[in-house]
């Protein structure tokens, strides 16, 4: 059954929406939605389809014209037939909007962004003003365009320049889908394109309706960030409107998101500076209160994000960084926004520094030639060791042990989790790896080597970190490579490790090359000696090879 017989009318030229309605109404009396839901759904589908077809001027005269003008309707060309559902259609000319979009698309594809912006889009704009009912269609076409736009529009500025165009805004505001703005925001956030973010934020401010778009709310946090730094008042504006709306209505598709919290906090901040912090500090407000009270919750998170911008606040933070607060931050961690993470880190650091002794001033960077020299010397030294040339070196430096603090177990656990997170994050940045737990064997070994090396350089913190990570089981106590060292004496082992850590990963390429040359030489000679039956040389070779494994690892990471 096709749609026309479903509706009980014949498909003929000059059919109007009115005819359609009449037919539908007649059929509907016998197919009531509550008595015959199945039949009704079919009828409805047919009706909606037919309406869509008639709406298209290609096929049928505009019924309005019929009423307005007295002249007989011009019959459409005979080859324009109305397609049947599922039936094949003859290739027909595109309806105007599609045609214009196609043109814009073509310009873009040919790289003529300017033409698209100056000619194609204004034309669409003009058309839409007189055909408001097509905004929806248009906005969905735009979203398609977006899907291909990273390819079509490079550099992005072309697209961004198009954004403030009235066409887009009118359409976006009309459609309430906000495809393009949300897609662009997504895009800008992913690319960390701060300029574009600012740009979009500005648009959202100028057109506050956009603030109400649930589609945009989750994105607005980054937008607010973009805005807030240069334009605090603007962020406040966004925050205020959104916050009021969200808290006044239970229209929950509008959620108080990071953005709102953030800008709301900015807003509150001016009125009640640091009140929340001092309340926390004076234990008038507990972490539990914050967690349970929605408003405090927003404020707290908002403040967290504000800390980095306020130097004085840091002092407050240091005094507030109690276990409870750390735990609270910990609780939020999965959803923290960028500024909030920064704030959380400050807390974290403040907290850790209160639990570990102050770091020793690290020696100034040695000059690179010196470094490479040492490197070579050490390799040679390693060689010398196995050739029984050198004497054993002096004992490890005595390091001061950190003061022990008696902590409640849960307190310790909270602290530990925070610390774990911060160490891994820091290390991850240094040696270029992702620190999601559990760590792979290779990463464990990398961290071990790195920390051991740092510890050897006198960095007490590294030593503690290593110990700590092992205790926490983040990296295993036994090195997976350890078995290879099994048949070495304790002294040899410590020497070997020293050797391992001595190879500085930050060598410049030239120096690496030189070191490599020495190594090659060394290897050759070791192999030679081992072949000749020298047991020491054989062990040294083994050691050497392990050493190189770790070297390669460092090099790879340099390549990254």
């Amino acid at each position: 059954m096709n749609i026309w017989s479903e509706l009980g009318i014949e498909c003929r030229e000059g059919l109007t929406q009115k005819d359609l309605k009449r037919a539908y109404a007649k059929k509907l009396k016998g197919t009531r939605p509550d008595r015959d839901p199945k039949g009704f759904q079919q009828l409805r589908k047919a009706y909606e389809c037919a309406q869509l077809m008639l709406r298209d001027e290609r096929y049928v005269e505009d019924d309005e014209e019929e009423f307005v003008s007295d002249t007989p309707p011009v019959s459409p060309p005979s080859d324009h037939t109305i397609p049947q559902l599922g039936g094949a259609t003859a290739p027909v000319e595109l309806p105007p909007l599609q045609r214009m979009m196609q043109a814009a698309h073509d310009h873009l594809r040919e790289g003529k962004i300017g033409t698209a912006l100056r000619e194609a889009f204004p034309e669409i704009e003009h058309y839409l003003l007189s055909h408001p009912s097509e905004y929806r269609l248009w906005s969905s076409m735009l979203s398609e365009l977006y899907a291909t736009f990273p390819v079509l529009l490079d550099p992005v500025e072309g697209w961004a320049r198009y954004i403030p165009s009235e066409t887009l805004l009118v359409g976006e505001l009309q459609s309430d889908q906000h495809y393009v703005i949300s897609a662009l925001t997504d895009y800008a956030v992913q690319r960390d394109d701060f300029e574009l973010q600012k740009h979009l934020a500005q648009i959202i401010i100028d057109h506050q309706e956009l603030l109400y778009s649930p589609r945009l709310v989750p994105l607005s946090s980054s937008l607010c960030l973009a805005l807030a730094i240069p334009r605090v008042t603007m962020a406040k504006e966004i925050g205020e409107v959104a916050y009021k709306r969200a808290s006044a209505s239970s229209h929950d598709s509008l959620i108080v998101d990071d953005a709102i919290a953030f800008s709301q906090a900015t807003f509150i901040l001016e009125r009640q500076p640091r009140k929340l912090w001092s309340d926390i500090l004076n234990q008038r407000v507990s972490a539990k209160d914050i967690q349970e009270n929605e408003t405090l919750n927003y404020y707290f998170r908002g403040f967290l994000g504000k800390i980095i911008e306020d130097k004085e606040m840091v002092n407050f933070v240091k005094r507030c960084a109690s276990y409870d607060v750390i735990r609270l931050i910990n609780h939020y961690r999965p959803s923290l926004s960028i500024p909030e993470v920064a704030g959380a880190k400050l807390f974290n650091d403040a907290y850790i520094s209160s639990a570990t002794p102050p770091q020793k001033q690290v020696e100034k960077k040695r000059r690179s030639w010196f470094k490479s020299l040492i490197c070579i010397l050490l390799i040679l030294k390693g060689f010398a060791l196995f050739s029984n040339i050198s004497k054993s070196s002096k004992a490890d430096l005595d390091e001061p042990t950190p003061p022990t603090v008696e902590l409640a177990p849960e307190y310790r656990e909270g602290l530990a989790v925070m610390r774990e997170h911060s160490i891994l994050k820091r290390l991850g940045e240094r040696i270029g790896m992702t620190t999601t737990l559990p760590l792979s064997e290779e990463y464990q070994e990398r961290i071990r080597i790195y920390l051991e090396k740092q510890a050897k350089e006198g960095r007490i913190r590294a030593k503690h970190d290593l110990q700590f990570l092992m205790e926490r089981g983040v990296i295993s106590t036994e090195s997976p490579y350890e078995s290879r060292y099994a048949d070495m004496s304790a002294e040899e082992l410590s020497k070997a490790k020293e050797l391992l850590s001595a190879v500085d990963p930050n060598l410049v390429a030239k120096e690496v090359k030189r070191a490599k040359k020495v190594e090659e030489l060394l290897e050759q000679r070791l192999r030679q000696k081992a072949k000749e039956g020298d047991k020491d040389a054989e062990r040294a070779l083994k050691f050497f090879l392990i050493n190189r494994v770790s070297r390669n690892m460092h090099e790879n990471q340099d390549d990254e």
């Binding site: 007649k26 759904q41 009912s133 929806r136 589609r215 006044a248 209505s249 929950d252 959620i255």
Partner: protein, 562 residues
């Protein structure tokens, strides 16, 4: 007529019951001649459940003894404590429904078993279910939930089915706001789009005005006076719909209020109203200029500022022919007639839409990372009802055996921003990827019925095993024990003459007045009350009326009834 269906407008502030008879839908009145029953439940001093006007009076004397505006909390876990007992919004609604049922039975002289109940168009699934539950507690079978603005349009359209017109219904009640655009042609009343907010209404205007006045005149309102203060502000707000200024007296202080005060206090609410209007117009796909008339319903649509907003968008289109208070109840009565296949309305067919998008939560794999929490819509908002649609989803991995299908309602891309409706667990999906082609695929079918309620059916494609609805978890729903306890609590009590509505009302009013009067007046009133209580206690039916009347006369002298 046997098995008559009544129409009920269960409002935030007032409720109304109606019935279709002799070709007309009309509202019914109680023994006091009131059509509007305040949606308030209270407990009297002796623990009797009060509803309607007596409850309102009781609340004035003792704000803690009762609860109003509970419609706003339907579908949530909210609980109120009334004189130490804990009540849910569903139970409170049930008490009101039971009262309306009683009113109808008394007025019609038959027993009533079923009803059409109106709900805000923007009510979500859980709120609708809560309404059904309340009706069940009240002993009413719900034949249909009808959207309030749709009912209003029906009230307008059922007597002129041949008119061809596009209508916008603007429904600003006590607690909810709905806008609906409809088209009427050839007896078809077709809803095109609905938009709204379930927490925006006249009560919010009162709240804002109250806040504004408190800070402007630096008034201190003690907790025990809060109900009196609110009542005074509310009255002032209503007066401002007629004049530009008004003054009221609060504990000896004279407070003056102007239109400017109200406009300033409500600026933010008005912005929200404009937003909803806009959204609905866009959704309907109809330019504002094609709207032929605007029907204003809900008490709060009488406000000057609201009228101005409407006038600015639809100049000269407001149609004043419907009663803003009664239209919804009348429409519900018409819907009842439609269900009864009453011949008076046989030429009318009503079609409505779903106000929210319905879908499920999905995870996406992007760049090897699986991210949870995306909303995948199945039925778009403003689709004509009933409708049934399906989508196919599949597991990530052939070893994944279980899917937890979480159903959400809302418009955001992210489920965390939408409303959780319920979930449904499916297992038996793991399969051998070499043997079965559609191993992990599940067809999810959503069926949205005429009541705006959702049914979900999932079919595992490979085995054709079907699982229907049975949500394991729905917010705001009670378990069996709770239901039992509620029914126990709501058990109709044998009515003592003291509790018969007019007597109860007189007593509550007297108790309230007692607190206001002093000196001789108070002593005199006490005398009247004592006598009245005595005859009520004796169940002396000959005396009750006359003693009651003298009490009333005295009260009217001291403080005229409104």
């Amino acid at each position: 007529m046997e098995n008559q269906i009544i129409g009920i407008d269960l409002g935030t502030t007032f409720s109304i019951v109606s019935v279709y008879e002799a070709g007309r839908s009309q509202v019914l009145r109680n023994e006091l001649g009131e059509a509007l029953t305040p949606s308030i439940v209270a407990l009297s001093k002796d623990g009797t459940t009060l509803v309607g006007t007596p409850a309102k009076e009781r609340l004035l004397a003792n704000p803690k003894s009762g609860v109003a505006c509970f419609k706003r909390d339907m579908g949530t876990d909210a609980m109120y404590s009334l004189s130490g007992k804990s009540w849910s919004p569903v139970e409170c609604s049930a008490v009101v429904l039971r009262e309306l049922k009683r009113m109808a039975e008394q007025a019609l002289g038959t027993t009533i078993g079923s009803a059409v109940i109106s709900v805000p168009a923007y009510f979500r699934d859980t709120q609708r279910l809560a309404t059904l539950k309340a009706a069940e507690f009240a002993g009413l079978k719900v034949e249909r939930l009808i959207n309030e603005p749709t009912a209003a349009a029906l009230a307008y359209g059922y007597q002129r089915p041949e008119e061809e017109t596009n209508i916008l219904v603007f429904d600003l009640g006590g607690g909810t706001f709905d806008v609906t655009i409809l088209e009427i042609f050839d007896g078809v009343i077709e809803v095109k789009a609905s938009a709204g907010e379930s927490h925006l209404g006249g009560e919010d205007y009162t709240d804002q005005l109250s806040e504004h006045l408190v800070s402007k005149h630096e008034i201190k309102v003690a907790t025990e006076d809060s109900a009196k203060w609110r009542k005074a502000v509310n009255t002032a707000k209503c007066c401002l719909s007629r004049g530009d200024t008004t003054t009221f007296d609060f504990l000896g202080q004279s407070v003056s209020v102007t239109r400017e005060d109200l406009d300033a206090a409500s600026a933010e609410l008005n912005t929200r109203i404009r937003g909803v209007l806009k959204k609905c117009i866009y959704d309907s796909g109809m330019p504002a200029s094609e709207i032929d008339q605007v029907l204003c319903v809900g008490g709060a649509s009488r406000m000057g500022i609201v009228k101005e907003i409407i006038e600015s968008i639809f100049p000269g289109k407001v149609n004043l022919s419907v009663d803003p208070d009664e239209a919804i109840a009348i429409g519900a009565g018409v819907q009842a007639a439609l269900i009864e296949l009453n011949e008076g309305v046989e030429d009318i067919v009503l079609t409505d839409v779903s106000p929210h998008t319905m879908g499920v939560m999905v995870s996406k794999k992007r760049g090897g990372v699986i991210t949870k929490g995306f909303f995948s819509p199945i039925i778009d908002r403003n689709t004509t009802l009933p409708v049934s649609k399906s989508e196919v989803y599949s597991t990530f991995h052939h070893e994944q055996d279980e899917i937890d299908l979480k159903v959400y309602q809302g418009e955001s891309r992210f489920t965390k921003d939408n409303h959780f409706v319920g979930n449904l667990k499916l297992n038996g999906l793991s399969h051998d990827p070499n043997e079965e082609q559609n191993g992990g695929a599940v067809e999810v079918r959503f069926t949205y019925d005429m009541n705006g309620l959702l049914e979900v059916e999932a079919t595992i494609i490979s085995t054709q095993r079907k699982i229907t609805k049975v949500f394991e978890q729905r917010p705001g729903m009670m378990d069996k024990n709770d239901i039992k306890a509620a029914l126990e609590k709501l058990k109709p009590l044998k009515i003592h003459p003291r509790d018969a509505l007019p007597n109860r009302y007189k007593l509550e009013r007297a108790y309230g007045l007692y607190e206001d009067l002093i000196g001789d007046d108070r002593a005199l009133l006490e005398h009247f009350i004592d006598r009245f209580e005595h005859v009520l206690g004796e169940q002396d039916f000959d005396q009750i009326d006359s003693v009651g009347e003298s009490l009333e006369r005295f009260m009217n002298q001291k403080s005229p009834a409104k």
